[in-house]
């Protein structure tokens, strides 16, 4: 019972223990806040990438694309684990806004809006056509004109150049899109053939994926027109097929099934004139497909985790120093306890109990204050911005809305346990050293 009573009294009555509690509290506070915000940002970023790509992508990095995709689409649509498929044309183009000098280099993406909306989160990224994706390429001012959807940041950039800021309503803006169609061999299509290299589109909507590279350079075009702009030749080609699995299908399981379908499709098409194009095609999950975007973010998260590993080591060190101080103050108590028959293990247990209480109290306070801070973080940031013009992230640069502040229970539990373990580790060496002291040596008058 003394192992409960004494640690509790040490905690409450010894001011020096407040330093240990505060050290643990601060470390836990920082770790909780940074991990929540960082993990929130990474999760949000991954979510946006997932929404952009769908679950799985059968595609090639080659701008030439691959042929016979209609057969593959049919095959995929028949599969019972697939909910939606969307063929996509990709290419690079020059975009010129009518009335403006100069061109902007953009990526174009030709899509069937209904299929793409069913397969990816495309519909949710739109400003004006969230409820009816099918009409996304119909400009509000004239539905008969060919429409285009601009990445929100691209639109902002063009508007700023034109002299007015973010769009205030549907504007009749015409854009010329200049493309270099490629043959199946990857060569530029010959002039004078049936190639189309320039087309005019009218602004019909914005897309906000929240992915800076996408929103800053992507223009969505109707599928057939993009195909005309990017590919030349009699056999139609696409660059990718985005796939959405049915809800009960796991990502890896679904991708493996698609890969198997792809292999049988490739076998079937092996005799075709453009079968060689199929060799560059891969089947990837959305994570693999967007790896180039996600990997740096994950790397950043790893670096942060390592940094907070150092914070944990610092906590252990602080706790160890404080415990050395506490135990050196308590050597008389150790001598007294040993003189009444407390074992070495009992002394270790006593100070471990004390460390446990320090860890529990410090981390509880840290978690509570961290949680309160996170709940209010957006309000605090708003207040700082209104008052001092300070923003944690410049929203004109970073595609971040509110600062993520959802506290995960598993993170809370992990931090709590880590803090307690850190305290126990920090207290272990001083406790062990204290336990080894001879009671006679401690209680000798000249040692007091």
């Amino acid at each position: 019972m003394y192992k409960i009573i004494l640690p509790t009294r040490y905690l409450v009555k010894r001011r020096i223990t407040y330093f240990a509690v505060i050290a643990v509290c601060l470390c836990v506070f920082i770790v909780l806040v940074v991990m929540t915000v960082m993990a929130g940002l990474v999760d949000e970023f991954k979510q946006k990438n997932h929404q952009f790509a769908g679950d799985c992508v059968v595609g090639t990095k080659s701008l030439v694309g691959f042929a016979y995709y209609e057969d593959l689409l049919e095959m995929l649509e028949r599969a019972d684990f697939i909910e939606g498929v969307s063929p996509v044309i990709k290419g690079y183009a020059l975009l010129r806004q009518r009335g403006l000098e100069g061109n902007a280099r953009v990526e174009i993406m030709g899509i069937d809006p209904i299929r793409h909306g069913r397969t990816t989160g495309f519909g949710e990224t739109l400003d004006d056509h969230r409820d009816d994706v099918s009409r996304v390429f119909e400009p509000a001012y004239d539905p008969n004109l060919p429409g285009c959807v601009l990445g929100a940041d691209l639109k902002l950039d063009l508007d700023t150049r034109r002299g007015y800021t973010y769009r205030t309503g549907p504007d009749q803006i015409a854009y010329s899109i200049i493309c270099l169609p490629l043959t199946a061999k990857g060569a530029l299509a010959q002039a004078g053939t049936d190639m189309v290299e320039t087309k005019t589109f009218y602004y019909s909507d914005n897309s906000r994926t929240g992915l800076p590279r996408v929103d800053g350079s992507l223009v969505y075009l109707p599928f057939e027109q993009a195909q005309q702009l990017c590919t030349a030749g009699s056999v139609k080609r696409v660059n990718a097929i985005h796939i959405k699995f049915k809800p009960q299908v796991g990502l890896e399981e679904g991708c493996a099934k698609v890969a198997s379908l792809w292999e049988s499709f490739k076998q079937k098409q092996s005799g075709g004139e453009q079968a060689y194009l199929l060799e560059t095609v891969t089947v990837q999950s959305w994570k693999g497909y967007r790896r180039e975007s996600i990997a740096p973010m994950e790397q950043e998260q790893t670096v942060m985790s390592v940094m907070f590993g150092f914070v944990a080591i610092t906590t252990v060190f602080i706790v160890m120093v404080v415990f050395y101080m506490i135990i050196s103050h308590k050597s008389k108590d150790i001598g007294i306890l040993k003189s009444v028959g407390v074992s070495n293990f009992g002394i270790i247990e006593l100070f471990s109990g004390f460390a446990f209480l320090v860890g529990l109290t410090g981390s509880s306070l840290g978690l509570l204050s961290g949680w309160v801070f996170l709940v209010e973080i957006n309000r605090i940031e708003k207040w700082l911005f209104e008052r001092f013009g300070f923003q944690l992230w410049d929203r004109t640069i970073y595609a971040i809305g509110d600062i993520p502040n959802r506290v995960e229970l598993k993170v809370v539990v992990a931090i709590l346990l880590s803090a307690i373990v850190a305290c126990l580790v920090g207290a272990l060496v001083p406790s062990w050293q204290a336990a080894r002291q001879r009671p006679a040596a401690i209680l000798q008058v000249n040692q007091l």
């Binding site: 019972m1 009573i5 004494l6 009294r9 108590d333 003189s339 009444v340 028959g341 074992s343 009671p439």
Partner: protein
């Protein structure tokens, strides 16, 4: 008196300490035997080794050479668990500087040995008895009103009485007192000696270390320690 009459016996005890580069020999072959119910005073000048001897007798320290037997059992053959039990149940220690735990109340300090000798469950089973016993001891020592006080709220004499109460908590066979009056004025010291005498009259075996011959006179037997050896034995 036959050897069998003694509950505690020390034979040829040697103890030395290292102080810097020199080895200081504190005990140089001490023989001592304590009979049940005796009140023995160990007298000697400062540095003569009396406290060291008392610590060895109470298993708070180990001799470099020699044997200490308690009820014919060699203490050096005790396991660490047995030694802890021996310190908890068989020996009651009273120190010159009281050595009470500041975080505990007077009552808690007294029943501390009952707490440390038991598991949490064991403690819950006997806590009523322990608290009553501690209150009883405090009443006997004239501290009934001070049970809820903290040690720093008491006078030196009162603290030493609390320390005696703690030492008696588990009804030890042997009470070892290291200069119990050394830090007290003569009135308070006298009160402590009266308590020890009263306990001895009730059958408690007491071994007391003191440097004061007059205080030693209150014991039934006086052993004089000079330069690490027993020089003189005197029985009243």
């Amino acid at each position: 008196m036959s050897k069998d009459d003694f509950i505690l016996a020390a034979e040829e005890l040697h103890k030395s300490y290292r102080m810097g580069s020199t080895q200081v020999k504190v005990l140089k072959g001490v023989d001592l035997a304590i009979k049940k119910g005796e009140f023995v005073a160990i007298v000697g000048a400062s540095g003569s080794g009396k406290s060291t001897l008392l610590h060895i007798l109470g298993a708070l320290d180990r001799p470099n050479k020699g044997v200490v037997t308690f009820e014919k059992r060699d203490l050096s053959r005790f396991s660490s668990g047995e030694l802890n039990k021996f310190r908890n149940k068989t020996i009651g220690f009273v120190f010159q500087f009281y050595h009470l735990l500041d975080e505990l109340s007077v009552l808690e300090n007294v029943y501390l040995p009952a707490m440390t000798g038991r598991s949490v469950i064991g403690w819950f089973a006997c806590r009523k008895w322990a608290k009553n016993r501690a209150r009883e001891l405090l009443a006997q020592l004239g501290l009934a009103e001070r049970a809820r006080h903290k040690p720093y709220q008491l006078s030196g004499g009162e603290r030493q009485r609390v320390a005696i109460g703690r030492a008696l908590m588990n009804e030890p066979t042997l009470l070892l007192a290291d200069e119990p009056t050394g830090n007290l004025d003569s009135a308070a010291g006298n009160g402590i000696l009266e308590v020890l005498e009263r306990l001895n009259r009730a059958g408690q075996t007491v071994v007391m270390v003191t440097h004061d011959e007059r205080i030693a006179q209150r014991a039934g037997r006086i052993v004089t320690l000079v330069d690490g050896r027993i020089e003189h034995r005197h029985t009243k």
